[in-house]
């Protein structure tokens, strides 16, 4: 299955566009998404300051609420990655 990751803040370094499509095994959850994300960062962005992103990021569902690691992802679902925040 495939999900669309909406990119914010430092995660925008992952792609030239504001979204990143990620292939996942069927019935994957957020924990699996973190694993895949960690692999993408390790292979393609190892020199950037994204190395902790897969651990420190939160994820928002389409309802704009934080979802936990057990949250089951659906095919074609759109998920927002929320790196550590710092406005003001």
């Amino acid at each position: 299955m495939e999900i669309q990751l909406k990119l914010y803040g430092s995660s925008k370094m992952l792609n030239d566009k504001d979204t990143l499509n990620i292939q996942l095994p069927e019935n994957s959850n957020i924990e699996k998404l973190r694993d895949i994300l960690n692999k993408i960062i390790s292979t393609k962005h190892s020199k950037s300051n994204l190395k902790d992103l897969s651990k420190t990021a939160a994820f928002f569902s389409e309802k704009n609420e934080v979802v936990n690691d057990n949250y089951k992802l659906k095919d074609k679902e759109s998920i927002s990655i929320i790196p550590p925040i710092g406005g003001g």
Binding site: N49, N68, S80, G88
Partner: protein, 151 residues
């Protein structure tokens, strides 16, 4: 209407302290407190020329309204609150955040202002990318919203 919150596309519109003052003024209020945050020209020894603010629009607006309503419930239900934050490319000197509070008394006005600022920093999904004079740029590290029990 006692509450105004917005994310302002800073390349198209400025955050205005005059607009904020007009919003919070009321004959019922004896105190007004205004906090203005601006982009400064230095951070951790690096010379900054601008900051780009990125934001998750829907979640920011939701968080702003929740934070302001919590502040009113906590300190003064009749307070008038104006909260705007910049989104986009903001050069040094530009207003990044403006919080204005009109309240019955000074103590509540100060407390609401401070409470909102701290909660925005800890709850609202906004990010800063600093642009330096030497041409480099960097996303700043911040506060994780991942549930603490999972980290």
């Amino acid at each position: 209407m006692n509450l105004h919150t917005a994310l302002v596309k800073i390349e198209e519109e400025k955050i205005s302290s005059e607009k904020a003052k007009q919003f919070i003024t009321s004959k019922k209020n004896g105190a007004e407190s205004i906090f203005i945050g601006r982009v400064r020209n230095e951070n951790s020894g690096k010379k900054v020329k601008a900051v780009t603010y990125d934001a998750h629009y829907q979640a920011v607006i939701k968080s702003f309204q929740s934070i302001c309503n919590n502040a009113k419930n906590k300190f003064d239900k009749n307070a008038k609150i104006f909260l705007e934050h910049a989104k986009g490319y903001a050069p040094v000197g530009e207003i990044s955040i403006l919080i204005a509070v009109g309240s019955g008394h000074r103590d509540e006005a100060f407390k609401i202002c401070r409470y909102i600022l701290e909660e925005v920093k800890h709850q609202s999904p906004i990010w800063k990318k600093e642009h330096y004079v030497d041409g480099r740029e960097e996303w700043l590290l911040g506060h994780s919203l991942r549930p603490k029990k999972e980290i």
